[in-house]
Symmetry: C2
């Protein structure tokens, strides 16, 4: 499976993806699900993918090809809306081509993307692109998107994230959300790719891959676990009247 999160903050964007793919429990692989398009000073666009790997890889390959052939591509589109449209259209191309063949074999060919970034002249924006190729945009009321195995890691995001959350705080929250997800679903796994984009910087800020046994990730996993137990211990005992 997959778990990806994108958070739209006043301060910028936080984007993260896991790297596990599986076709059944006996076929597990590691694939990076984050693709970064950057032209420093002009734009940063980050694409996170979930779903059928052949479909998502075909989409990123076609996007790359459009770039090489000087067709409209993610480094030339005039706005993030156009970027999301281009990804959606490319996904439709792939599914028009491969979908009928997948269907013949009862294979689920769906895919989804989170696209976030900023293009010079616009503010930072975040989109959730559906397998149908259409999409929605994050707003201050709903400042984050998840794709893939989203439920385990949602409560901590709901409790912490608002559009006013600081970048580093949101990044830690996202890592905790990944930890919660990976504990409950083995089809989501390390490495986790994390990227923080600072508003109006128009370049990739902090980027980090957390591998297995990463000392920082291990530390926050441990400290979070201990912290939760402490907070739980401090809750008053139930009163049984009423």
């Amino acid at each position: 499976m997959t778990y990806c999160v994108g958070v739209l903050l006043d301060a910028g964007l936080v984007l993260a993806s896991d790297s596990r793919t599986n076709a059944g429990v006996d076929q597990i692989g590691t694939y990076r699900k984050m693709t970064v398009y950057e032209r420093s000073g002009d734009r940063v666009i980050v694409l996170l993918s979930s779903g059928n790997l052949a479909v998502t890889q075909a989409v990123t390959n076609l996007l790359e090809q459009k770039l090489k052939e000087n067709l409209e591509n993610l480094l030339t589109v005039p706005s993030l809306y156009h970027a999301a449209s281009l990804v959606g259209e490319t996904l439709r191309e792939v599914l028009n081509r491969d979908g009928p063949h997948l269907k013949q074999h009862n294979i689920e060919g769906s895919a989804g993307f989170i696209l976030g970034g900023q293009i010079s002249g616009e503010k930072q924006r975040l989109f959730n692109i559906y397998t149908e190729g259409n999409f929605i945009e994050a707003t201050p009321d709903t400042p984050y998107f998840q794709i893939g195995e989203l439920k385990y890691g949602k409560p901590i995001l709901d409790r912490v994230i608002t559009s006013r959350t600081a970048l580093t705080e949101a990044a830690k929250c996202v890592l905790v959300s990944f930890d919660s997800t990976m504990r409950s679903n083995i089809s989501v796994g390390l490495p986790v790719d994390l990227l923080c984009y600072e508003r109006d910087s128009l370049k990739v800020g902090l980027q980090r891959r957390f591998m297995d046994q990463d000392p920082y990730f291990d530390l926050i996993r441990h400290q979070w676990q201990e912290g939760l137990r402490r907070v739980l211990g401090e809750l008053p005992d139930p009163s049984w009247e009423g």
Copy 2:
């Protein structure tokens, strides 16, 4: 939807259920999903239900009828294993009777139960009864079961609950798990019924219904939220090297 949890501890059992039912978002109802069978000094059996309400109500009605007709029933079965079998058989009776009619209208007739308790002469036990009428039993390795909307509330249980957890601690953890679930899925809702059974007491111990605006439930929701934010704030900032 529904959310129910049963926890098997060395110290006893914690069982909890929400009360929301829905047939689409425009038809929401409140039904208690916890049924308690008690003969003080001999047994306590608690049944939590999820799934199609007509099916689960039919099961509890038939169980009640068996009791009135002096057939084998939950107050006479010699062991918890027999109790789980009886519930499974009753569920099969209902689905044999109603299933084909539901299928004609493409209605999902599935149901699931958590059954926990203790019968004199046995230790406390906990079962998860599937819609097929068969079941599994909790062990110290996997000391809890959830039915219904289980993902949102699972991480906190995984982080806290072991068979050595104290009853009150587990009860608080279960309430937090309900809070996490209710925040993320509006089809799970208050009132929450909570029951703690103390090992070898052979009577219902503490039992409590948390209604909307319950001061204790509101307090722990608030304190938990604040505690989580504090723990997150205390986590060291990511190091971006590596």
